[in-house]
Symmetry: C2
Subunit: 197 residues, 2 copies
């Protein structure tokens, strides 16, 4: 058995799974459609039925990445917390974990596909954005933030996590330093002085 080709449409999922592994191991440059096909036991042309392009594969990876990232944020932010501060911190660290643990994927997700991104990607990215906004929005209910600041704080939060993860991934900062960056940002943002200027 099983010397027949994978067939039956699950090839797409197989390719994506293996692509994520390779992405983690060798980065985006070391991702080859032909190699993925070989590992899946299909011919080199087979992936074309599911991904017209190498770019299409990367797009699908990015979309998946956004969905998984959103799930991580959603899950961390909805767990019971003793305080809003701890909830915000826990969510930030979860996002940091994901970003550092999937550095190459983050690179695919956040590199220069400004206007040309597919609609599916934008939808997934929007879900992540909403998840982040949800955590910050909860801060309004908790009395920590003003409604008018939600967007600015969401972006500040996102940029900090993203930047800290990039520093770690490139070896320019340690994990402990990234934790400190995120903790400091949470503390500063909660100090409320963002209204002061």
């Amino acid at each position: 058995m099983s010397d027949r080709p994978v067939h039956h449409g699950n090839l797409r999922a197989v390719l994506l799974d293996q692509a994520e592994v390779r992405l983690r191991e060798r980065g985006v440059a070391g991702l080859s459609l032909r190699e993925l096909a070989r590992e899946a036991g299909v011919s080199h042309g087979a992936p074309r039925s599911h991904f017209i392009d190498r770019a299409a594969l990367l797009d699908a990876l990015a979309e998946r990445g956004f969905v998984r990232f959103a799930e991580v944020v959603e899950q961390a932010s909805t767990r019971r917390s003793t305080s809003y501060r701890s909830r915000l911190r826990r969510t930030a660290h979860a996002a940091l974990d994901f970003s550092i643990g999937n550095a190459a994927l983050l690179e695919v997700m956040f590199t220069g596909k400004v206007g040309e991104a597919s609609e599916a990607i934008e939808r997934a990215a929007g879900r992540l954005f909403l998840a982040v906004r949800g955590v910050i929005d909860a801060g309004v209910a908790a009395g920590a933030f003003e409604e008018a600041d939600v967007e600015r704080i969401s972006l500040l939060w996102s940029a900090t996590v993203q930047g800290a993860a990039t520093l770690v991934a490139s070896g320019r900062a340690t994990r402990a330093q990234a934790d400190a960056i995120v903790d400091d940002t949470v503390a500063l943002v909660l100090s409320g002085s963002i209204r002061a200027l």
Copy 2:
């Protein structure tokens, strides 16, 4: 004249200059040694005398990028200012400008070359790090920061700029929003409440 090959060692500089242009136009994936050679009017093997690898070319680009980035920060931070706050803001916005205007280059500089980076790159990156640290250090003299916080604030500052630029480059935030992120961070950091937690 000039149908003779470029010769005489300036090929390296010519290739690097053109590589920066291509990098800006098509990103890191659209960077081909053979194409660069063609544009420089030399044979496809010529670049090998200066860059053993494609990776070596990217390393050289990264090194150059760190040096130029460091210069930008140094220059912005040493200009006369009416206050430390305006000095810190101006420097931050200069760094943001550079990061957004050279997004693909930043990608090359900050992607997963953890331990395997060349010594030259690390030296250039160190110069950038020192430049940033210098601006923050000046805040100690100005009475804005405590000496013990210089490293944390430097990293927070770097991560924020980096993150904000990445959001803009990927189309996930506007330039105005990135400015706001950076301004907010400067304001928060100067509020001194980083000591509070």
